[in-house]
Each structure stands twice: as C-alpha cells, then as structure tokens.
C-alpha cells in the first residue's frame, strides 16, 4: 500500500517534470516571435517584454495541463488579449496626457540616433548592413502601419504558421474574419513592399 503510494508520487513527479520540460521547449520556440509580434503591435521594447512575460505566466498557470497541441493557439490568444489590453490602457493614458497638455520630448529620437552611430558589433560591411537594415525597416514599418487585426492575422498565419482555425481561436474571431484580415494585409504589404524588393 505504502509502496504503491510512493510509486504514484514518483509517477506524478515524473509527469510534472515532463510537462515542465515540454513547456520549456514550447516557450523557448515561440518567445522570440512572440516578442517581435508584441513589439510590432505596441512599438515599445519593454512593454513588449512585459506582454510576453505575462502571456507565459498565464499559459503556465491556466493551461499547462492542456494537451501540448493546444498550447500554440492558446498562447497566442493570451498574447493577443494582452496586446488589446495594452491598447485600451494606452488609449486612456494618451487621452489623459493630451488633455493635460503633456508631450513626449525627443529623447527617444536622440537615443536612436546615438545607437545608430555605434559600430556594428558583428563587423559586417556597412553598406550591406545599411541595405539589410533598410529592407528590414521597410518591412517593420509596413507591418506596423497595418491595422492591428490585419497585422496580427498576417503574423500568426505567415510567420507563426497557424492554421485559419487556430488563428481564429487566437484572435477570438471567426475564420471568415481571419481570411479577410489576412487577405487585406497581404494585399497592402505587396503594394507597399514589392516595388522595393524587385
């Protein structure tokens, strides 16, 4: 009886370890893309990190025991929810700031210029770096300029490789809406970027 209890405990512990390992693998696979998706949506490095951290916590807390195949749409659903929350909070904050007459200084621009002046840490050819960065900047700008829903549908489908059904779960909308958002996003991006890339 006591022996059975010890075995049960060991099996339980092994399962928890397996689950933790699987979660670790899953999160390490998605964290970079999740961070970029959040950063493209909110446009702020630290806020994006906070959003990803919150999403990781929520997934582990609420859905760790769900089958691992469900983790991807669930994780992105949480991420989308956190991004929407950020937009709501930011909208209220912006309204208050503009109403109170505060305006952000050019500190961010100055920091950006200072960072651009630093040499490339990987020692790449400056012209190649410039061309590459220019191309990436174009891409980032084009994606940032998309309406949020189109942006997210595009990133989840194209980059994360989610199916239409899983994207609909992540975005809390119908599959038809996903298709519409995605199609519009691709159309806009082709119009904006294709001429730079051909």
């Amino acid at each position: 009886m006591q022996h059975d209890c010890v075995i049960d405990k060991k099996i339980g512990k092994d399962r928890t370890l397996d689950k933790t390992h699987a979660l670790d693998q899953f999160l390490s696979q998605v964290e970079r893309r999740a961070f970029k998706i959040a950063k493209l949506a909110v446009g702020n490095h630290d806020e994006a990190l906070d959003i990803v951290q919150d999403s990781m916590f929520a997934l582990v807390q609420k859905y760790a025991n769900r089958p691992s195949e469900e983790w991807t749409p669930l994780f992105y659903r949480i991420l989308q929810s956190r991004i929407r929350d950020w937009y709501r909070r930011n909208k209220v904050r912006t309204t208050w700031m503009s109403w109170l007459g505060f305006r952000k200084d050019n500190e961010d621009d100055e920091l950006e210029n200072a960072l651009e002046a630093l040499p490339d840490p990987q020692g790449r050819d400056p012209s190649q770096v410039a061309a590459n960065e220019h191309s990436m900047e174009d891409l980032e700008m084009a994606i940032k300029n998309l309406p949020l829903r189109q942006q997210q549908a595009f990133l989840l489908r194209t980059w994360e490789g989610l199916s239409v059904a899983d994207t609909a779960i992540a975005m809390k909308c119908s599959q038809g809406s996903v298709k519409t958002h995605y199609s519009r996003a691709v159309h806009t991006l082709r119009e904006t970027l294709e001429e730079h890339w051909t």
Binding site: L17, F35, K36, E140
Partner: protein
C-alpha cells in the same frame, strides 16, 4: 514575384530579425520563461499541495494554544480570586488574633466586676 515567393521572403526576413535579437532581450526572455515555469515545477506543485493542509494544521494548533492558554489563565484568575477572598476573609481573624490580649483582659474585667 508570386504571392508564395513574396510571403516566403517576408517570413525569411522576420526570422532573421528574430534571430538578431540582442543578448539583453534574449536574457530577459529567458528569465521570464524560467520564472513562468517555476510555477509548474514539482517543488512548487508540492508546496501548493502541502500548503493547504499545513496552513490548516497551523491554524488548528494556534487556536488550540490560544484556547489552552486562555483557559489556564481563566483558571489561574479564578484561583487567585478565591485566594483573595480567603485573605480578605482572614483579615478579620488576624485582627482578632492581634487584639486577643485586649479581649482577654476585657473578659477578665467583666468577670471580676460581675
């Protein structure tokens, strides 16, 4: 460029961008992941499992201790009260013993007078 090629190119660029994340960002992501996973670790699960019975036991011990301490205090208080009553009551007797010579003299005076 076909749509498929276009999308592949986009995906490749996005992958490159995410591969080029700086060390500080990667470290922060790693720390966030480890902190999140700590919730699912066996130790934390065991702590959660043990927390409820342990806290219940602690509360029960605390209540019992308080009850025992208080009841002892009540008993002690009531004993003290009884002792006090006896002392108060005994104080009359003490007066009697202290004045015993006077009462004996008074008795002798009465007897001799009578």
């Amino acid at each position: 460029m076909s749509e498929k090629d276009f999308l592949n190119k986009l995906k490749k660029q996005l992958d490159e961008q995410s591969e080029q994340l700086d060390a500080t960002t990667l470290s922060k992501l790693n720390r966030s992941r480890q902190a999140a996973l700590a919730q699912a670790s066996p130790q934390t699960s065991r702590m959660k499992q043990n927390w409820l019975p342990a806290s219940g036991l602690a509360a029960a011990v605390l209540l019992t201790s308080v009850f025992l301490f208080r009841s002892e205090e009540i008993v002690t208080n009531s004993n003290q009260s009884m002792d006090d009553i006896e002392i108060i009551a005994a104080s009359d007797n003490l007066d009697l013993y202290e004045q015993l010579d006077f009462y004996l003299w008074l008795l002798e005076e009465n007897n001799s007078a009578g």
